[in-house]
């Protein structure tokens, strides 16, 4: 038993014969396809002799069928000889389904396609902004109706989301902020030591963490954890027509899926932000005690003296706003999923990237705003 091979012989008169041998199957034809197709038909007639074929499948039959078709079209009558019953049946079956198919959708002119893609991106972007505003408005209306008591609030869902967003994140957020507290204290100490002002490390920790870093880093962490989860959950439900099913039953997807997530997220980010700030202060305090010799009691006293309450309040005011933004971004991207699994991945990525981006931009606005208001 061997791979496919062929031999060209001069037939009677000016006719040509082509004897094909071996296994003419998809696994074995790779070697003979190109040489067979390279043959220029010549003479008065061509005959393809299949007597030596051990096995043939649709790929082999296709090859033979195409040879016959191209050579006949080139003006040399071609016939298949000595084919087994199976081979004949296969060739006939293949011949009855002879048409060509494009593998990829048509691309067209390169320049036009490029311009088209730029245009589509611009349209897509404005479209996206429009859809997000519509989504925002829709959610606000539903939220308002819920507050007004005209729609039920899904307490079960809210509590469940609180657990996954908040309680389950305690470990990672706590550890991260604890480490950040240590790093801020350590780097601050190195710089302040040059002035002999190491004790001002407490000011640095208290003000930077309570006002900015605590909530910002917590929000970024939660955006990575939960905005992605929202987008993927809702996106999969969209693909599986679960969102359609909700609407068909008469349950508003916004009410069932989005509102509980938004409420839970804004509440949990407030609590997590406070918890994260406390953990960071503990980390910084620990570093001060162990490396700088500032005892905890002194650290706490000094912290009270140098950190105004307004820093704490400013930090916590931002938390629910960030929470709403993160939850809305995640849910919105989930709702935008269409078509296939790839779309879920793309939308999940966008949910994380865009929510972190918006959180940082908003944080900058808040910083400018509160400074302008005189809270320094």
């Amino acid at each position: 038993m061997g791979a496919a091979s062929f031999e060209q012989v001069q037939g009677p008169g000016t006719a040509q014969r082509l004897a094909v041998r071996g296994r003419l199957t998809i696994a074995h034809i790779a070697d003979v396809v190109e040489p067979l197709r390279a043959i220029e038909p010549s003479g008065s007639a061509m005959a393809i002799d299949l007597a030596g074929i051990e096995r043939i499948d649709t790929a082999g039959a296709w090859l033979i069928h195409r040879l016959v078709a191209t050579w006949s079209a080139a003006g040399v009558p071609t016939a298949v000889e000595n084919a087994s019953v199976d081979a004949e049946r296969l060739i006939a079956e293949v011949a009855s389904n002879d048409f060509t198919v494009d593998t990829r959708p048509p691309v067209g002119n390169v320049v036009v396609a490029r311009l088209g893609r730029i245009g589509a991106a611009v349209v897509g972007m404005t479209d996206n902004i429009g859809s997000f505003l519509a989504f925002l408005g829709h959610t606000m209306v539903v939220l308002g109706q819920t507050v007004a008591g005209r729609r039920p609030l899904r307490w079960n869902a809210v509590i469940h989301q609180c657990e996954t967003i908040g309680v389950n994140a305690l470990g990672i957020v706590g550890l991260l902020l604890f480490l950040v507290g240590i790093v801020v204290a350590q780097q601050g100490a190195v710089q302040l030591r040059a002035f002999g002002a190491e004790v001002f490390v407490v000011n640095l920790i208290g003000r930077s963490i309570l006002r900015e870093l605590g909530i910002l880093l917590t929000a970024i962490m939660v955006a990575g954890r939960s905005a992605s989860a929202f987008a993927a959950q809702i996106g999969s439900m969209k693909l599986n027509q679960e969102v359609d099913a909700l609407a068909a039953i008469g349950m508003s997807p916004i009410e069932v899926l989005v509102v509980p997530r938004v409420l839970a997220m804004s509440l949990m980010l407030l609590l997590l932000g406070f918890y994260g700030a406390v953990m960071a202060v503990i980390g910084g305090g620990l570093f001060c005690w162990l490396a700088l010799g500032i005892p905890p009691i002194t650290f706490v006293q000094r912290l009270q003296e140098v950190t105004p309450l307004s820093d704490m309040v400013i930090g916590l005011i931002k938390a629910p706003v960030f929470g709403i933004v993160i939850a809305m971004m995640g849910c919105f991207q989930g709702m935008q999923v269409t078509g296939n699994a790839e779309s879920v991945g793309e939308r999940t990525t966008r949910a994380v990237v865009e929510s972190i981006f918006v959180v940082i931009v908003l944080d900058a606005f808040f910083a400018v705003f509160f400074s302008a208001m005189g809270y320094n």
């Binding site: 296709w62 090859l63 296969l90 389904n97 198919v101 494009d102 593998t103 959708p105 790839e342």
Partner: protein, 270 residues
Amino acid sequence: MELSPTLPDDADVVIRVRGLVNRFGDQVIHDDLDLDVRRGEIIGVVGGSGSGKSVLMRSIIGLQTPAAGEITILDHDTRSVDAIAAKDLRRRWGVLFQEGALFSSLTVAENIQVPMREFLHLPEPLMAELAGYKVAMVGLPAEAGPKYPSELSGGMKKRAGLARALALDPPLLFLDEPTAGLDPVSAAAFDDLIRILKQTLGLTIFLITHDLDTLYAICDRVAVIGDKKVLAVGTIDELLSFDHPWVHEYFAGPRGRAALSAAPKSVKAA
């Protein structure tokens, strides 16, 4: 016994299942299940919802590791086969999943070419031609080739899935409810297609179905799964006289009778 799920040892068997046990937690799906599939036959597998038809198929093709039992497929014992041989073995069967399971990021033509690219080194133009032929063979229009699965209807997805299953001309084909969810015209066309493929390519087909018309139209033998075992295997005529309440209800119930009266004359005469 005539309707025994096992065939004599000297029969030409492609799939041999012995003493199969499948469990999910405490729930026992199969308990000491036996089944033989002859070379070149279309075997229909029927059974109530949740009776473990799909799990049986998944066990045979190695997607589900059984708790106990022995499965021999194309002369390979699935328990002892090593990873390289197992991959080689997968070239020799095609699987059509219930929803088609097309790769959503590839076009139909590219889906069909996936097994060709994975296992063979074929020239690009030939692969394109073969994909075109497969698209035509399963009765899809030429426009379907460059389309993505999300742009296709349910029936078209199944046809495309079948084309992918047939990409390497495997001798063995597994079909999980190929006609479920198709309109009667498409379903009948699908039955015809499977019969033609079996005749021209000499396939052995393992066919899970609820469709009585499909059973009458194309199956050589039918295996009934129930009570965690294969209850009986035989032609439909043989099963009509089989004394089991579910089997009786299945074939002699209103839908069974309707399908029988619509079946080809050869079945009715027997």
